[in-house]
Amino acid sequence: MMTDKTQVSPTPPVDQKRQTFAIVCGLAGWLVPGLGHALQKMWGRAIVFLVTVGALVLIGAGMRGNLFDSNGNDAFASLGYVADLGTGTFYLVAKYLEPNGADVSRAVGDYGTRFLAAAGVLNFLAALHAYEAARGRKA
């Protein structure tokens, strides 16, 4: 028999824990590529994201691509900075690997810029996936 009573229960503590864990996974995945998945014992994905994002950063820095900073003069530079920041701590690795700065006077340098930006965007996607997986939405 149906009743009109609607029961509004507070969010169970388990869900709150899960939400917190999901946020931790998302942040960890952003800071260190693959860590968000590693915390959930998704070892295959963790290794793949660490290797792929790492490879893109290494290749991009090796090609002396442009690593944008916060002093961008236009919208593209600001967007580039956001994309580069997506690599988390690997942003610092890329900076360390480019002691002489970028060289976009050659086509190779320009390709490197795209590699670095792609690494950041890919890691954003991976971190978002880790967050969603921890919430139980997809795996």
Binding site: T52, L58, I59, M63, V108, A118, L122, H129
Partner: protein, 60 residues
């Protein structure tokens, strides 16, 4: 570190790395992943080379 890669080599590397990452991101079973990676890589290269040829007449 100073990598000197050609346009084609860069594209191949980029397509491979992104295809592998997307395969692991969007598929669960190993067979589905392999299929997805192969298709994604093939389409990356096909579309990339097609766009390259489409731009060829304007490069001179």
């Amino acid at each position: 570190m100073n990598l000197q890669l050609s346009h084609l080599q860069s594209m191949l590397l980029f397509a491979l790395v992104i295809s592998v990452a997307f395969g692991f991101l969007s598929r669960r079973s190993p067979l589905d992943r392999v299929k997805y990676i192969a298709w994604s890589l093939l389409l990356f290269l096909l579309i990339g080379i097609s766009i390259g040829w489409a731009m060829y007449p304007f490069s001179r």
